[in-house]
């Protein structure tokens, strides 16, 4: 234990009592944080990152307890403190920054009052002094005109500003240690960069120690001095960030780094990543052990599904021979306005509404992928909804395969595009009906589009398609909740494929997934595109993902199309200032390879 070690965690083991027995969430964790440094905790969901943070803060839920090990803050052992001692310590010497700035501030109380209350809770000073200190803190965290804004309510701040207030709240008692649990996950990239810069500056100026919990490797590379890689509640590897992530010693870290999409080069596919099924089997869920059992449908095979899809492509190719070379989807001056109303007599009740898309013109060549990027509120999901007919455009035209694509309101239920265009959603938890078995979920498009009616035929097709998306056939008999997020997204892909689509619209299909699962799904999508000549509209907020998957890139900002360019040209020399700004703000791993952290 060196002189400037602030927090020392030795052999920390946390167990939870559940009705299935004792469950060990993290085991034998060693961790030390020096004053004035940022220590990153990185790992995929279920790795135990947040549990470690909660254990250090003494905030474990009642069913959890520290079963073994010690937590020492500047010489003071924390693991045996009683509630009263914790109450004095928490907030004053250890603070926490949570993920969502929307919910970590009380919406009914002015931010000034929240700050003053916290300051006076831990320091014996009067209201006016506390208020002066609060203003100074807001100023320090980068809130302009702090003296007036201190009397605002949380909803009057933007997401990034609110997170600054949360940081001010965490700082207001001069803590020695701050635990930041995914502090930038809910924010757009540009705001994320500002918050991380602020955190780095505060750490250097105030010499506090920070534990930064995140799933985002880019954030770790850009901010933390040391990093601990966790998996299934154990430490995989620990050390200086450069060493651990730059030249990993452990297989898991190497696989993790291989799965992180990079902005520098476009790879044909992700290599050396973890195998999906084995990772899930290692999880605590015992039910999944049966996923790999020998259930098979007679005559079902990945080849059958593959042939079936190829046949559809050949038929379509023969019928639309001429258009194959041209654009499959053309969006012409498309605008979407929400909530607009014409108004009655003399224009009473007239509202202009919100323009979600403004004169967007795009085209997608057959067999290629168009990546649509933008921050939240840029209109990228609205674009997907307009194409699939869920929202009606207010003006403009859409053409699919050289024929006009009618807007949702007038698109017939049996319109051919309803089969030929399929959508994959962001959240694989919400996009599958939880009361249906996987077989029923997958049989629905087959029957609906009349691809097969005979019971055994449907079953064979469905089982074959599961195999094609690298799922065991036994998945047929299970319900969505019995699968991991990645497996569920595979089922969603299979459902889309069973319509025999020509265009796949993927709306943030990997945003809810861990990075290694994301790499698997991206590989799958690319393989499918190569084999079946699918065209894809890929919507994402993550430039690195778009770099890897898209052939052309479209950037949206507040409903406007900012740039539309081929992948290589965009990432080498983006033209629009906003594109260049986005590119510079996205956390990158370039620092690792170049030897210096950005």
């Amino acid at each position: 234990m060196t002189a400037d070690t602030l927090l020392e965690v030795r052999g920390l083991t946390v167990s939870f009592t559940t009705r299935f027995g004792e469950f060990t969430a993290v085991e034998g964790i060693d961790l030390s944080v020096a004053a004035g440094s940022i220590h990153g905790l990185v790992g995929e969901s279920g790795a135990g990152k947040s549990t470690i943070g909660a254990a250090i803060m003494g905030l474990l839920p009642t069913s959890g307890r520290i079963a073994a090990g010690s937590v020492t803050l500047a010489g003071l052992p924390l693991q045996d403190l009683d509630d009263a001692a914790w109450h004095r310590l928490r907030g004053s010497r250890v603070s926490m920054i949570f993920q969502d700035p929307q919910t970590s501030l009380n919406p009914l109380i002015r931010i000034g009052d929240q700050l003053v209350e916290t300051i006076r809770q831990h320091a014996d000073i009067d209201e006016d002094d506390a208020r002066r200190r609060a203003i100074a803190l807001l100023d320090e965290t980068g809130i302009h005109d702090a003296a007036t804004r201190i009397d605002d309510y949380p909803h009057q701040f933007s997401g990034g500003m609110r997170q600054r207030v949360v940081i001010a709240l965490a700082l207001c008692t001069d803590p020695e240690l701050i635990i930041a649990d995914e502090p930038t996950t809910a924010l757009d990239v540009a705001v994320q960069q500002q918050i991380l810069d602020l955190l780095k500056r505060l750490v250097a100026e105030r010499q506090i120690g920070v534990i930064l919990i995140t799933h985002d490797i880019g954030v770790i590379v850009e901010t933390s001095d040391r990093v601990t890689v966790l998996r299934h509640g154990r430490v995989v590897e620990s050390g200086p960030t450069q060493r651990v992530l730059g030249s990993p010693a452990a297989d898991y870290t190497r696989a993790l780094m291989a799965a992180v999409p990079r902005m520098e080069t476009r790879l044909p596919r992700f290599r050396g990543i973890l195998d999906d099924v084995s990772a899930d089997l290692a999880g605590p869920d015992v039910r999944q052990a049966s996923v790999a059992d020998g259930f098979r449908v007679t005559g079902a095979s990945a080849e059958l599904a593959s042939d079936w899809l190829l046949r559809a492509r050949d038929d379509a190719g023969a019928a639309h021979d001429v258009t194959r070379d041209g654009a499959l989807l053309e969006i012409d001056e498309l605008s979407v306005t929400f909530g607009a109303r014409g108004g009655g007599w003399f224009g009473i009740g007239r509202r202009d509404g919100v323009q979600a898309l403004r004169n967007v013109t795009l085209s997608l060549a057959a067999g290629t992928t168009l990546g649509v990027v933008g921050e939240s509120g840029s209109g990228k999901s609205t674009l997907a909804k307009a194409i699939t007919g869920l929202v009606d455009p207010s003006s403009g035209a859409m053409r699919f395969d050289a024929a006009t694509l009618p807007p949702g309101g007038t698109r017939r239920r049996d319109h051919a595009s309803r089969r030929r265009i399929q959508l994959i959603f962001q959240d694989p938890y919400a996009s599958l009906d939880s009361r249906f078995t996987v077989e029923r979920i997958l049989a629905e498009p087959v029957r609906h589009y009349g691809h097969a009616t005979n019971r055994s035929e449907v079953r064979r097709l469905v089982a074959s398609m599961l195999e094609l998306v690298e799922m065991p056939q036994s998945a047929l008999r299970k319900y969505p909740h019995q699968f991991s997020g990645g497996q569920r997204q595979r089922v969603a892909v299979a459902r889309a494929l069973l319509a025999r689509p020509e265009l796949l619209i993927a709306d943030e299909p990997t945003s809810a997934l861990d990075v290694s699962v994301q790499a698997q799904i991206l590989n799958l999508l690319r393989d499918l595109q190569d084999s079946f000549g699918l065209s894809m509209l890929f919507i994402s907020h993550d430039l690195a993902v778009v770099r890897q998957i898209a052939d052309t890139v479209a950037v949206l900002k507040d409903g406007d199309l900012v740039e539309f360019a081929p992948n290589e040209r965009f990432f080498a020399a983006a033209e629009a200032p906003y594109s260049r700004y986005l590119l510079s703000e996205t956390p990158s791993l370039a620092g690792l390879d170049g030897g210096t952290v950005h």
Binding site: A430, R435, A512
Partner: protein, 309 residues
């Protein structure tokens, strides 16, 4: 990690923990037991009751107003005494339970069918359909259940031929009580439909071009059953109570047919002349039934409502 994944996970836990929570709640077990006993007693009334209260020939007016068997004037044939017409109170309660439960189940089923259908339609189509259905619901709520029942009863008497009213009493009661209970179902079904409609699995079905009727019955309805089940249970208790109230007021079951309400009504007439048992035992039966069904409904509500957990 993502807030959107949480509710789904919670729902999954709920589905799997229903049995677990039930077995760990003594109150729920006891009330379920009592409710089951009541249903069994009602179903088996013709088998287990010593007398048939509908059989005029088996009733002797000389036996009227006999106190329970354990009192000095009691008669061993009538364990809890007889009413003013000499009917065995125990048998009358068993048959009364039968009628009360039948009316309760029928009227709640009617209310659920009407309310859920209207709620699904209102929630799905929105716009003026929604506004119309919900305003009708508001008007319905402004009418007390008794008033609705009197209205239905009055109309039925007006349009039905003389004499057929007593035979159609069951239908009249079912419609009257059902009409005053459908609003709960409609509101809950509408609110849940609005939530489910925005979910991606439903959007996927819309994009496919699936018929709204199919989406509603196949996807939406099964996913909103949880809260509806709670209302179903709680409203069953309300319906039984309403039937008793209506019969007590004389607009429900004719007095010569024993229902819990008519028995209590007969009993009140003799309360001050010392014949307490006629009102006490039917009332006890009613209270026990209502409490047990209510407790069951409360238990289900706790299980299905994450905010209360």
């Amino acid at each position: 990690m993502l807030s959107g994944t949480w509710s789904r996970w919670q729902r999954f836990r709920v589905d799997n923990e229903l049995a677990h929570l039930f077995l760990h709640s003594p109150v729920a077990i006891v009330s379920a037991l009592v409710a089951t006993l009541a249903v069994l007693a009602a179903l088996l009334a013709p088998v287990i009751s010593p007398f048939d209260p509908y059989d005029i020939g088996g009733i002797d007016l000389l036996d009227s107003l006999l106190p329970p068997a354990w009192t000095p004037e009691g008669d061993a044939r009538f364990p809890i005494g007889t009413d003013d017409q000499g009917r065995d109170l125990y048998s009358a309660i068993l048959y009364g339970l039968r009628l009360s439960l039948l009316v309760g189940v029928l009227s709640v089923s009617f209310a659920a069918l009407l309310g859920v259908t209207l709620g699904l339609i209102a929630g799905w189509f929105g716009g003026w359909v929604d506004a119309l259905v919900m305003r009708i619901a508001d008007v319905q709520l402004a009418l007390p259940a008794i008033l609705t029942a009197l209205l239905v009863d009055g109309i039925a008497r007006g349009i039905l031929p003389d004499g057929s009213h007593d035979r159609l009493m069951l239908v009249v009661l079912t419609v009257a009580i059902g009409l005053s209970l459908w609003v709960d179902f409609a509101r809950t079904a509408r609110a849940s439909t609005l939530v489910e409609k925005r979910k991606e699995y439903v959007q996927a079905a819309i994009i496919m071009g699936m018929h709204p009727l199919k989406i509603l019955t196949r996807h939406v309805l099964p996913n909103i059953l949880g809260p509806l089940l709670v209302i179903l249970t709680i409203d069953l208790a309300v319906a039984i109570l309403l039937e008793a109230t209506l019969s007590f007021l004389g607009v429900g079951v004719p007095p010569n047919q024993p229902s819990l309400g008519t028995l209590i009504e007969i009993g009140t007439g003799y309360l001050f002349s010392g014949e307490w048992w006629i009102v006490l035992f039917p009332a006890l039966a009613l209270v026990t039934l209502i409490v047990s069904v209510n407790v069951l409904g409360d238990f289900l509500r706790d299980v299905f409502d994450p905010r209360l957990r």
